[in-house]
Symmetry: none
Subunit: 227 residues, 4 copies
């Protein structure tokens, strides 16, 4: 319609990535905001300034588009999250863990203007659509592995130890909870100030709480390795 050509990213060129990407961007925004069911194909296409048949032409259907959005969200979160930098660290320390907690919490709660990636993920995790299985392979296992190795380091136990598995859950839980239920958390605890300085304090709290907790649990297994 208008003369709007965006930059052909990289050098792949020639295929009209533009339309395809515009659709993904619009879909991500709306899926994050309204969920898979409530976001309609037409809304998405209107927002993307594309004909409403395009979603079928390019993706083969609404469901496949959703899957593509999930993949894109995964890429965004992995490439730009604190997770990646930390995963490449070779030698851990309690200080580094504290820094990571701060960065991680920030990336989860940070107010990036259009970070639909995170919001789409959270919807998928607690209310799985049929696309869930593929997504799980992609996103969840790597994250779980990282937190297990973190717990393993603090506890001084092997990564596949049952106590480490539970420890990892206790860690993830604290981040996931505020991430998934941010709306509720802020409503019930307005003094927390997650949007401002409260974020740092909460990260520090989680760090202190977690380290002490992990060590206490670990000590039980070292005295008398029950299982």
């Amino acid at each position: 319609m208008e003369n709007r050509k965006e930059y052909i990213d990289g050098g792949t060129a020639s295929e009209s990535l533009t339309t395809r990407n515009r659709i993904i961007e619009a879909a991500g925004h709306l899926f994050a905001q309204d969920g898979f069911d409530r976001a309609t194909s037409r809304q998405i296409c209107d927002l993307a300034r594309v004909n409403c048949a395009a979603v079928n032409y390019h993706f083969g259907g609404k469901e496949q588009l959703y899957l593509e959005v999930l993949r894109e969200a995964h890429r965004t979160l992995v490439h730009f999250g604190a997770l990646k930098n930390f995963a490449q660290e070779s030698d851990l320390s309690e200080e580094k863990i504290e820094a990571f907690f701060l960065g991680y919490l920030g990336s989860l709660l940070g107010n990036s203007p259009d970070s639909w990636a995170a919001r789409v993920m959270l919807r998928e995790m607690s209310a799985p659509t049929p696309a869930f299985d593929e997504f799980a392979q992609l996103q969840l296992r790597p994250t779980a592995k990282l937190f297990r190795s973190l717990a393993s380091f603090v506890m001084g136990l092997p990564v596949d130890h049952e106590a480490v598995v539970r420890g990892a859950i206790s860690i993830v839980a604290q981040f996931a909870f505020v991430f998934q239920n941010r709306h509720v958390v802020e409503m019930v605890n307005p003094e927390l100030d997650l949007a401002g300085q409260g974020l740092d304090r909460l990260a520090h709290h989680i760090w202190r709480f977690t380290l002490a907790g992990l060590k206490a649990v670990a000590s039980d297994y070292k005295k008398e390795p029950v299982k």
Copy 2:
């Protein structure tokens, strides 16, 4: 609308329920399974063996039925959960807390055949529908209050202390995480055996982890009461 005759059917059960109640039961089941959008009025009425106009007759529409389901879920959770019994305890102890944790986790993950109450709640919390606000007043605040007083007891700090607020979040987070993401947790950590004996072990872990964590955090504030 609220005060209808309603025979308490001693043990005959399952068929002699009021139409109204049969609808709520069916709706709870399907809303929990498929979400508000995917669960159709007709499915609900078919399952309840009721004419499809009944939902409008008794509730005035799908949305109001949903709200009633939410209220019913609240009642179920409050009346029969471990929460209530615990809230009435007057003198706490670490042993009682452990027992409570076990009971609470059990009530959240317990495999009661049709415990749609919990599943409906979780959907509402992470993907709020317009009915959210009323629900928040009803369900969330009392729960939050209980966990705060628990943290306050362990930490030896006043309930409105900022550290206690964060401590309560760390506790709730661990329960909420496995509750909200049970599907994911079991998929990534199959060795956990949440359906069997792993449940007790996880409750014990959370208890040990939490107590140590809370005390560690509290000690910082007692040495040098930063705030």
Copy 3:
């Protein structure tokens, strides 16, 4: 519900005419206002403060209720209209005709607070429902007969003369038009002031216009009785 017993009209007593009549009254009001299709049974019963099954109990259905309303409207219009008084006159004169025109127009356009009778009639005439045929026998023929005899008097021709038939139509037309299209007439000709003194002037106009018209037509048939 409350203790509302209305006067048992006349002396028939004992049968609960009250309920039945309340329904007819409410139905008349709503049928006049919204038409047969848009006025719902429940609206009617709500307005009559009666259970919604009563309309079927007393009348056997919405359609039969409508017919009853039509009959009631007929009775009202015949008994209390200027029509009746005039029909009983034995000797006509131009002055009496003018008086009748004034009275008739007044009864059609008069702002009686709840004169749903007339409004129901007009709806039926220009948009007949299946109940039309019975209504026609009841209401239309007597009215037509009266206007024919009036035209016959002015024209000096027999009542079944073809010219008289057409003359009667020209008379009725002028009353029916402002009656049926009052809304439109007032919108297009606001200077007419039908609600106030304009009514008398219009009646006088119709009288003058009609008499001259009838006489002119009649003269043609007297000079050369074409048919």
Copy 4:
């Protein structure tokens, strides 16, 4: 929405019409026959041999379709009625008026197979739907204006004279009455033969009646111009 391609199908007719037009045609037919409420979307689409979603696609809903039907009816009536030709006449005469009356009555009562335009209009006039206001601006005022100028010519009084306003009403009334209540008129006066030669005779009658009536009224105002 308005400027669509639209082959003027020379004489092929009836099948090669646009979907949009087929819908309007079918809707006009059914709205005329059954009214807005009784005519269902599905009936319309079945008659138009179109999918039942098309009415929403093309018009946005049943109500907007109705409005479009009203507009189309207006166009039909204005373009092809005797009204238009007459309105363009510059010099009037009694003979021309008689010819016009004949043509006008014919266009109102003429038995063109699918002249739903007129029937839709009459329904709207005596039982206005919410679409009435727009319709009034479009259709009514021009017609009223024409009849006023006609009355003005015969009476020899200015168009905005109060007597002329009433005179115009008397004229319109006679056409509108037989038009709006054709069913009733034919039932009560079967000898009229509106479908055959009676039509010409009625037109002649109206002409004779009207001219005499107008002149008589006018003479009153010329002798003593009361107002």
